[in-house]
């Protein structure tokens, strides 16, 4: 896969590498600069000491025999190989003797140590260098002056002590700086080399680390694009390395799974809503149409309108139930949850339904002693429980013995279980029992009974809202609907 440089630069790894490289380079430069200046100062100090010794010797020679002896000693020393620089000039700076042919102008103007290295040229050197450099120069027309300076700059730098003799003549004793200059050049070269290698290393790290990260991210982006394209079953790649990319992918995959579930639920609900609201709406419309067409008596109109209202009311009820289930399942959070005594809730609902049960010939009993406090919403629990009790009363009437509904509460480990048991035919089939809490599912047997098919779904949503469960268990005989609430911490 071809990577353009800007793409690499856009990775975090590359940016970090660049930053580190820059910091290291800065440190290296500072260190080298410090070391060079330190060693240069040491070398200069040594040079100055040597020159001082030299000057002391010359001073003694001058004291011994005046100028002629001094000149003789200077000339003698000048001729020694590897000699220091010696120069004696008249008061106007005209060179009289020594081994220096020319100097940077102005060096002789001030007495004492030269403040900075200056360039010079020894006797005879100019011709030699010119011969040596001829092939390189290829006949460039340069004046002697510039040639000299170029030579001087090339390596013949020196520091010197300038003295004025009692007869106003000028003496210069100096030392070539060739050695420290070479030392500095070595350090400079090694610095350049180190920086170059650092740069190269940084680039390599950029390339490999950045590319690896880019590759992973590209595969994730690729997978996300596919998923966005509509393939909701697609998942992000997990390499199994267990690194941060894997953790990220795993979490994103979990999120995708959740989205897929919600999406599936939404689709199912909209299908069901379409079916269960369209059917009564169609009935409503047909009835109105039928009433309008043909000759009708006034009482027929009235009857049709009353039917319309009854039908609309049922529609509104269904619609409200759907809305409520959706809100509860969507994690609707209520500020109105507080301590609810399940025993009191059971007593209330049983008391509410007792006359209905009696009228239907069903015995309705509650076995609740003491208080069973949970965190919850009394209204929602009441509604869920009344739906369950309502169902139990309806379905216990097909019992072979005396129809009975029993409500009981028990505390188990970490849970409070509220069971509503009937002794009717129950739901023998396991799959049917599991399906019974789904929205709009009305098992074959129950189609003859009035109801929207939302009662148990609502109860289930209420239990989800309370971080609990709704289970349908086979009774013996009948059905046992169990609402399991998490017990409160303080109990």
């Amino acid at each position: 896969m071809a990577l353009s440089v800007p793409a690499i630069m856009r990775t975090t790894a590359a940016r970090l590498s660049a930053l580190y490289l820059l910091l290291f380079a800065l440190c290296a430069v500072l260190l080298v600069l410090y070391m060079t200046s330190l060693s240069a100062r040491m070398l200069t100090g040594q040079t100055q000491e040597t020159i001082n010794d030299e000057v002391l010797g010359l001073a003694r020679a001058y004291q011994r025999g005046g100028l002629p002896v001094l000149v003789r000693v200077v000339e003698a020393r000048s001729r020694q190989p590897g000699a220091n620089l010696y120069l004696i000039a008249d008061a106007n700076g005209q060179i009289l003797t020594g081994n220096v042919q020319s100097l940077e102008p102005g060096v002789l103007d001030n007495e004492g140590w030269t403040t900075s290295p200056f360039s010079y040229q020894r006797f005879g050197e100019g011709e030699l260098d010119r011969l040596r450099n001829l092939p390189a120069d290829k006949g460039t027309a340069q004046s002697d002056q510039s040639e000299t300076q170029a030579q001087g700059e090339k390596g013949h730098n020196a520091i010197a002590l300038v003295l004025r003799l009692p007869n106003q003549m000028i003496m210069l004793v100096g030392r070539d700086l060739g050695e420290p200059e070479r030392f500095r050049a070595v350090i400079r070269r090694s610095l350049m080399l180190a920086l170059g290698m650092m740069g190269l290393g940084g680039l390599l790290i950029w390339f490999f680390v950045g590319r690896a990260a880019l590759k992973r991210i590209d595969s994730v982006s690729e997978a996300s694009r596919r998923i966005m394209g509509g393939d909701l079953s697609g998942r992000l790649p997990v390499t199994g390395a267990g690194d941060e990319f894997d953790r990220l992918s795993e979490n994103l995959n979990a999120m995708l799974a959740r989205i897929a579930t919600l999406n599936e639920g939404l689709k199912q609900v909209s299908d069901n809503i379409a079916h269960d609201l369209k059917t009564p709406l169609t009935r409503l419309r047909n009835r109105a149409e039928a009433t309008l067409s043909g000759k009708q008596k006034t009482s027929d109109y009235r009857q049709a309108l009353e039917g319309t209202i009854t039908e609309s009311d049922q529609l509104i009820k269904t619609f409200n139930a759907i809305l409520m289930i959706s809100r509860l399942e969507a994690g609707y959070s209520s500020e109105h949850t507080n301590r609810v005594d399940l025993a009191a809730a059971v007593r209330d609902v049983v008391e509410l339904y007792e006359p209905v049960a009696e009228e239907a010939g069903v015995s309705l009993d509650a076995e609740v002693n003491g208080a069973f406090v949970v965190n919850g919403n009394r209204e929602l629990i009441g509604q869920a429980l009344s739906n369950i009790v309502d169902n139990a009363i309806k379905y216990s009437t097909d019992s072979t013995s005396k129809p009975a509904v029993r409500v009981a509460i028990e505390r188990t480990r970490g849970e409070i279980r509220l069971s509503v048991m009937d002794n009717g035919q129950g739901i023998p089939d396991d799959a049917d029992r599991a399906r019974a809490t789904e929205r709009f599912v009305r098992l074959e047997k129950s189609r003859s009974q009035p109801g929207s098919g939302l009662g148990l779904s609502l109860a289930k949503a209420v239990m989800t809202f309370h971080y609990g469960r709704l289970d349908l268990l086979p009774g013996n005989p009948g059905l046992s609907v169990v609402m399991s609430f998490p017990a409160r911490e303080d109990h």
Partner: protein, 241 residues
């Protein structure tokens, strides 16, 4: 021309004329309410937005206000809060499309006296407005309620009819107490469920009817005159004489 079934028929004797302010931005719904209240023997004024409604409520002397929660220019709840802070104590019924438990609590906290979720039956709205009417709510302080020859003592929890003691279950007593407090007024099934059982949902089976018919058996059996009447399409009414 027949009247729609939800409108009160002449058999219901709604007592007392009320001056009602309706704040509702849906023109058709507002017109319908005004017409229906007028046919029920009341006077209704309509405001189409919150600002107009607030101005009318602040200036006029109404018995009951019916306020839609969502209105242009100023929402219903803020109108109620503003009115209450100005010392206006006129009973308010909030109409809203939001019907969750929390929405109801928010509405009542803002200063509403009752809460009705859209869509509603007019008979339900009318019954609730009649009960809210401040001129009729003086009974709260009485300790003994009397309707015809029926007598309920709130302190000793005893019920008598024509000097004969009637034994009631606690819940039946509360049911009768509520019916007697609003004697002569229509009381709907949801009003009973809310006020006697403190539940705000619609039970799948009409449990209230069974409770009422049981109570009726106790207070009417052995007496020649019916006292607890069923109002078709609306609810119940306790009425003596």
């Amino acid at each position: 021309m027949q009247m729609p079934a939800t409108q009160p028929s002449s058999e219901i004797a709604y007592n007392g004329h009320m001056k009602i302010l309706v704040m509702e931005d849906d023109r058709e719904a507002a017109d319908y309410l005004q017409k229906a209240f007028t046919e029920a023997g009341h006077t209704a004024h309509v405001a189409g937005d919150g600002e107009t409604g607030f101005a009318l409520a602040d200036a006029g002397d109404y018995d009951v206000m019916v306020i839609d929660r969502m209105m242009p220019r100023r929402d219903g709840l803020s109108v109620i809060v503003a009115l209450r802070s100005r010392g206006n104590t006129t009973p308010v019924l909030i109409l809203s499309a939001l019907g969750e438990v929390d929405d109801r609590v928010t509405g009542l906290r803002a200063g509403g006296d009752d809460y009705l979720t859209k869509p509603y039956a007019f008979s339900e709205l009318l019954a609730r407005v009649e009960v809210l009417n401040r001129r009729a709510s003086a009974k709260e302080a009485e300790t003994v309620y009397r309707v015809g020859d029926l007598e309920l003592d709130r302190l000793s929890h005893s019920v008598r009819r024509a000097a004969r003691e009637i034994t009631l279950q606690p819940r039946e007593f509360r049911l009768l107490e509520y019916l007697m407090r609003h004697a002569g007024q229509v009381v709907t099934r949801t009003m009973l469920l809310e006020n006697v059982w403190d539940y705000h949902f619609d039970p799948q089976t009409n449990v209230i009817d069974v409770h009422v018919s049981r109570l009726r058996g106790k207070i009417e059996k052995g007496f020649d005159k019916p006292i607890l009447h069923t109002i078709r399409g609306a609810g119940y009414m306790l009425k003596g004489g």
